[in-house]
Amino acid sequence: MKIYIRSSTCISPQNTFGNHNFLTEVVEYNGTRLNAIEPDYKEFVDAKLLRRMSHIIKMGVAASMDCLKKGNVEMPGAIITGTAYGCLEDTITFLSRIIEQDEEMLPPTAFIQSTHNTVAAQIALMLKCHGYNNTFVHKGISFESALLDAMMLLKENEADNILVGGADEMTDASFTILSRLGLYKRWPVSNLNLYATKTRGTMGGEGSAFFLLSDKTSEKNLAELTGIRTLYKPGTLKDIEKKVILFLAENALKMDDIDIVITGKSGDTAHDDIYEQLNHSLFNKTNLANYKHLCGEYPTSSAFALWLAANMIKNGMVPDAVVERCVLKTTPKRILIYNHYQKIYHSLMLVSAI
């Protein structure tokens, strides 16, 4: 069975939502944090509902509704989300009130909207969608887990038109905590210069990307989602190389068949060494692209990468803004996404032209 990406919508720190050219005007950020550019949500959500929604719920709901509209589907067969941190804003609001008010006189709203399944639940509620509904919350492979679930549902013939997405929000508190944990650079940098600084740390990001998956052919389909694989602490570089080769072989492909690899390079020297080494070994003959200078680093950023790959295939071009090394003269037909989060969770996604 072939699985297709019918449509996709991304809200990110770049102009990826709405009628914009495909990453032609890159937004520059100076600092260590990239904030998502918020669309006019009123187009997608009732103003009364909007006031109560936190940032991640708005990003998730708007991206979903737009994705369904693009795919010309009113009612998805299933709704599956991936989020590592969940509804941080509401969680921290409720937690802070517990401490500040010593557990007394607490309003319930923040708690109600703090559960990790709130985004998927709100989408179901707005659509009155009674179908399968699931939420994965596993660190750097939250989105990949959701995607695997969607692909299995299609293969099992349990549902069609599956809405699947990844979303994470950055709040002031989480940015402060993650900075203290050493995830981000110690001095402000430009995202356009992220890979040149050669220092520890990256830039924090956030966003929401949703996809409509189907096993039905359609002229509208953007690309084929050929395969996915996650790896946990794979060990040495040789192990990673072997797993990549095996993953490709399972899809009857070799490295030479891949037109371009999108890697999860983050500008953190402690994490990018894997990509650097692969770029000189297994990936040494292939074209290369990066994306984290556009959306920042966050656990579900691979959803941005999948949005990028699907659109590269649909538009038949590789935007200059993502190129690390590219001599591709024709349109990209096969794209491999390889990302790792903190070297612990690695993922491979294979996207093909139809």
Binding site: I79, A84, Y85, G86, T91, I92, F94, L95, S96, I98, I99, E100, D102, E103, E104, L106, P107, P108, F111, I112, Q113, S114, T115, H116, N117, T118, A120, A121, Q122, A124, L125, L127, K128, C129, H130, G131, Y132, N133, N134, T135, F136, V137, H138, K139, I141, S142, S145, L148, D149, M152, K155, E156, A173, T176, I177, R180, L181, Y232, K233, I344
Partner: protein, 403 residues
């Protein structure tokens, strides 16, 4: 992929307020010994006001049992106790030769430690011990336990409120059916936290006395904590066991109520679709079900919606049913896992668990739950319900393999 292949249950592990392992739970059921009481471990202003069902071991004791440090989240400590029991119980020969995964669920991850961190952090954001917030994420709990169990092939975490671990179990089964894995430890864990206790308290659905699920005069739920896991195995692995598997997971369904973020629809649409879907998946008729382990939280809203949905499906012949939350309290993200263990044990030992403190049948329903502990019953098919916030409704069906 072979979707028609069976997924068997080879091992069980559970910890809750009524016991630290499977044997202690069976004993507590027979003695009709509930786990609720005054709060003694959780540090909260609600002590002596709201009863909860705490696991009767503090973090130091759990750390000693598990070998984990005692400043680890209680969520992970509870998880490791039950997951390790399940894996030991399964006793799979040559497990290293099989692709093994850990699919665990929880709702608030390392929140118990984050609560300590935030006390200092909200005063001054350069303060707060980072170790207390490092494992805040739900996924961290799963990773900590997988590392202890030596599982590396596949791990993931599900969080769909109170249906979380029921979804983890059937996601695990599907990973086997899709030939991604051969063995999956699946279930969930949740520790009591100030966050959840206060959250449910603001919703005014906590009973100040011990809960009375499915009673006309029920007044809410009691929160509990714990962890419960099943070891799921493929046909191929089942053939290598030196024992018979307990039973198989024959049906499952996840449907959404799509009615309200926290309340169930009056006609229990989501619950109805979940039960109906699970029956269809298992190819069983309502009359084939020998026991229903209810979601039965004890809130007016849940029990009314669940009862209405059961009526729509089972009327006029109702199988025995009960809410074991009358023993364990509502263990949230762990409840689907814990109650799956009870469902499997019901088949294995021919048991029906009593619904404690039930007195008055609900006016709107033509049936009530079983009050007695029954042994030596012929139990072949058990339905287990788990419904949660966000309209997430999941039903599982376990079936014996004797026929």
């Amino acid at each position: 992929m072979d979707m028609s292949s069976s997924v068997y249950i080879a091992g069980l592990g559970v910890i809750s307020a009524i016991g630290n392992n499977v044997a202690e739970h069976l004993s507590a059921f027979e003695r009709e010994k509930a786990g609720m009481g005054d709060i003694s471990i959780l540090d909260t202003i609600h002590r002596r006001k709201l009863p909860v069902a705490e696991v009767k071991l503090d973090n130091k004791q759990l750390a000693a049992i598990t070998g984990l440090p005692d400043d680890m989240s209680r969520t992970a400590l509870l998880s490791l106790v039950a997951a390790r029991e399940a894996l030991t119980d399964a006793a799979i020969p040559n497990r290293e030769s099989f692709r093994t995964g850990f699919v665990s669920a929880n709702t608030v991850g390392g929140m118990d430690r984050s609560e300590h961190f935030f006390v200092d952090f909200i005063e001054d954001d350069s303060k707060g011990k980072l170790r207390n917030v490092y494992d805040h994420e739900c996924g961290s709990m799963t990773q900590i336990v997988a590392d202890q169990l030596g599982i590396t092939d596949f791990l993931t975490t599900i969080s769909t409120a109170c249906s979380s671990s029921a979804n983890a179990i059937f996601y695990g089964a599907r990973l086997i059916k899709n030939d991604v894995l051969d063995v999956v430890i699946a279930g969930g864990t949740d520790a009591l936290t100030k966050f959840t206790l206060n959250g449910f308290n603001t919703l005014m659905i906590l009973d100040k006395a011990f809960c009375k699920p499915f009673d006309e005069h029920r007044e809410g739920l009691n929160l509990g904590e714990g962890a419960g896991y099943l070891v799921l195995i493929s046909d191929r692995v089942a053939k290598t066991l030196n024992k018979r598997p307990y039973c198989k997971l024959s049906g499952y369904n996840n449907s959404n109520d799509a009615y309200h973020q926290t309340a169930s629809s009056p006609d229990g649409t989501g619950s109805y679709l979940a039960m109906k879907g699970a029956l269809e998946k298992s190819d069983l008729k309502p009359a084939d079900i020998d026991y229903i382990n209810l979601h039965g939280t004890g809130t007016p809203n849940n029990d009314s919606a669940e009862g209405t949905a059961i009526k729509r499906i089972f009327d006029p012949e109702y199988p025995p049913m009960s809410s074991t939350k009358s023993f364990t309290g509502h263990t949230l993200g762990a409840s689907g896992g814990i109650e799956a263990v009870f469902s499997v044990l019901a088949i294995k030992h021919g048991l029906i668990y009593p619904n404690l403190r039930f007195e008055t049948q609900m006016n709107e329903l033509p049936f009530g739950p079983e009050k007695r502990f029954l042994k030596d019953q012929k139990i072949n098919h058990v339905m287990s319900n788990s419904f949660g916030f966000g309209g997430n409704c999941t039903s599982l069906i376990f079936s014996g393999t004797s026929k």
